[in-house]
Symmetry: C2
């Protein structure tokens, strides 16, 4: 038997489901356990589903503690009486169990899971079971397509005024790999739209967003990003500030503790972010090598094929370039030194030729796809856009549009306070630097 | 950089890991995310590991909210300053990931998981990943043995003064299946020790503990159970009140939401409870049938073989009896009516012959193992212990020892307030009753 309880506000957030706290004695009377679901009903008819937590003293008998999300969703008042009604589990739990049992999920079922996730109907236990099952069982291509579409649908999407929109992504795992900071100005300078969202450091000492932030603000809202890209063709912003593909962040919360990267979820996570910015043509950088995330050419080719096939299913034109990820790239690792390096390359200084060449190859693919360069001539065009100063000019337009100082010089970048010089104990030439040594 | 924070007590329990709450701004400054682990250190040197939760207002900057388990473990005072130190993840997380990747875990690794679980070092996310992986990957026999031993080691064990100790278990799924209430008095009347712990309702309207509670108290502590069994040979108590095999309850918390019953965990859970009461000889009732948990004879035989083999590995003498679980057994379903039925059977009334016969068959196996009956004569001896009144006398000794009224009559049992009669619309004979209709 459930009944009426007096609301007590608890100003605690939970990152996920809505939580209520009951006195253990009340819960026992109502035959409720920790993590059970109940429906809360206000007299005016508004209602919400929440998960039960238990306490011995914090909440007295007859009271119900509502965590922040719960009372704001419900619009409840302190000391108001609300009714507790038993709740069924959300339907998507059945699909999670199906996945555990080895079944392939339909688009409708995957969509139901993501919808329940977004409506905070799933507990960490249920979500983790799904992610774990996906990790072990793998995902069929149709499941990845469905998950990508569902993730795109979970957040807003950008509106950029262009028929073709370009984007790039790197699988990661290579220290110093800041090609985005060159590719965006090259592509934008060629007159193409490239609304680039980047992450902060995940697997390296500096994410592209961290690096760009040294030069210009990167935390921008959807309408600001649209305005910047419509005006100057490109941007380099932090994806975390704009709520695109937001189901992805909720999945990452339970994927992180065990570093669970089911390939299908990885593909969906990447492609959803591209689709959400409106990208039509995408170049994926797949570095291979001992320290990188992908270790063999075979593995890289299989991943490239998956990207291509899943892209086709979603009407995305996805190209991949398999690159050398055996060692760090460029001469700098860390936000400030990387930002300085980029400013020097764009200013025409002869530094880090390997980094410049790689960025031009990746940009070159997009230039060829777009028709701006003939087949086989993309890399050359990219180099000439840097060497002729057009990319530098464009980069400064982007900096200004994002709210930074367009006149910034490489010497303006402030360096960290502490330095440490490592001296070799022997004479010789460095033959190899292990990427992993720079990654967490 | 971590630092000193002012303690704020939060009188909330979490069933699992120790929790602290930080202001989101402080967490961002310290580069901490929700679910990260930190070590809390008091000035006197005591320390504890806890999991980070975030809040915007409930905890102010500079404060740290300690949930009940956290401040009691730490012995912290309100407003005291404590230091926050980064914490590594417990080693067992690596083993959980190994299991996800399909590796067989060693006894040492499984023990590490259970130790971390008992020390509340694992979050629900980590624990769920392990249970899910175990569900999908299965468990090798050696893993089940190791898990059983680890679960036994997670709680106290009973000390009963006898070289052989008997026990029984039913896989469940059959409504009205209260054979324990007959087997315990039969075995105890034969002069053998049978310290029986039972559960409350899980898959049926009445657990044996619920049914016994109609007649006598069932919530007893370890030393009370030992005293009762040493005095009158047997008991029927609620396992939940005595902390035997306590890791099992923690596993059940994450198994319940998705009803995850990995066979290996089920076997370990059952055998750990038997081993923890000191059992040496065990009879397992495996009902098969359409409504029951086990559906085919083949499945039942395979389960019986597993019980036997894992038992041997642990020096437990485990026998199984495959029984008919196609329909409810006896003439009553529900605590009070079942208790009344048992009192009638023990008093020698000719009711529910099928239930009586089944209980005598199961008890018979134990009587034969013990040497109290010759091979093939166990069932007969069990019947004669009921028919001659010895089991009834013993049952009343047990009721008295547990604190109930030994003179209780079947007519003393109070029935529920509401009744509802279902009238058949046609004449005929009932040919089959579906078990599932009585189960949740």
């Amino acid at each position: 038997m459930l009944r009426k309880m007096k609301v007590k506000r608890v100003d605690l957030e939970t990152e996920g489901v809505k939580v209520v706290v009951l006195n253990k004695k009340d819960a026992a009377d109502m035959d409720l356990d920790a993590l059970d679901r109940i429906i809360l009903e206000r007299e005016n008819g508004t209602s919400a589903t929440a998960i039960v937590n238990l306490t011995e003293r914090f909440i007295k008998k007859g009271e119900i503690g509502l965590f922040k999300e719960t009372y704001s969703t419900l619009g409840a008042k302190d000391k108001e009486k609300i009714e507790l009604v038993p709740s069924k589990k959300p339907e998507s739990i059945r699909y999670i169990k199906d996945k555990l049992n080895g079944q392939t999920l339909t688009a409708k079922q995957i969509n139901a899971i993501i919808t329940d996730l977004m409506e905070e109907e799933l507990t960490d236990v249920e979500l983790t079971a799904w992610v774990t099952a996906t990790y072990i069982r793998g995902m069929h291509r149709q499941e990845v397509v469905a998950l990508t579409e569902a993730i795109v649908g979970s957040g807003p999407t950008l509106s950029i005024a262009a028929s073709r929109i370009y984007d790039k992504h790197c699988i990661g795992g290579v220290a110093g790999n800041k090609t985005t900071m060159l590719i965006v100005p090259i592509i934008a300078a060629a007159g193409l739209k490239i609304p680039k969202t980047s992450s902060r450091a995940i697997t390296s000492p500096a994410g592209t967003a961290d690096c760009m932030e040294v030069i210009a603000p990167v935390a921008m809202k959807k309408d600001e990003i649209e305005r910047v890209v419509n005006r100057v063709n490109g941007c380099i912003v932090w994806g975390g500030a704009v709520n695109l593909a937001s189901a992805d962040d909720k999945l990452i919360k339970v994927r992180n503790p065990l570093r669970l990267d089911p390939q299908g979820m990885l593909l969906a996570s990447i492609l959803a972010k591209k689709k959400a910015v409106g990208a039509t043509d995408i170049i994926i950088d797949i570095p291979i090598g001992k320290g990188a995330k992908v270790n063999t050419k075979k593995e890289a080719e299989s991943l490239a094929r998956e990207f291509n096939l899943i892209g086709s299913n979603m009407k995305l034109n996805v190209h991949s370039l398999i690159t050398d990820g055996d060692h760090p790239i460029g001469m700098a690792i860390g936000p400030s030194v990387e930002a300085r390096e980029i400013l020097r390359i764009l200013a025409g200084e002869q530094v880090s030729p390997e980094l410049k060449e790689k960025a031009c190859q990746l940009a070159g693919v997009l230039l060829e796809i777009s028709g701006k360069a003939k087949d086989g001539k993309g890399t050359k065009l990219a180099h000439s856009l840097i060497n002729g100063g057009k990319a530098n000019k464009k980069f400064r337009e982007i900096i200004e549009a994002q709210g930074g100082n367009p006149k910034i010089k490489d010497t303006d970048v402030t360096m960290g306070k502490y330095t440490h010089t490592v001296k070799s104990e022997e004479k010789g030439k460095i033959e190899h630097i292990n990427n992993r040594k720079f990654l967490q």
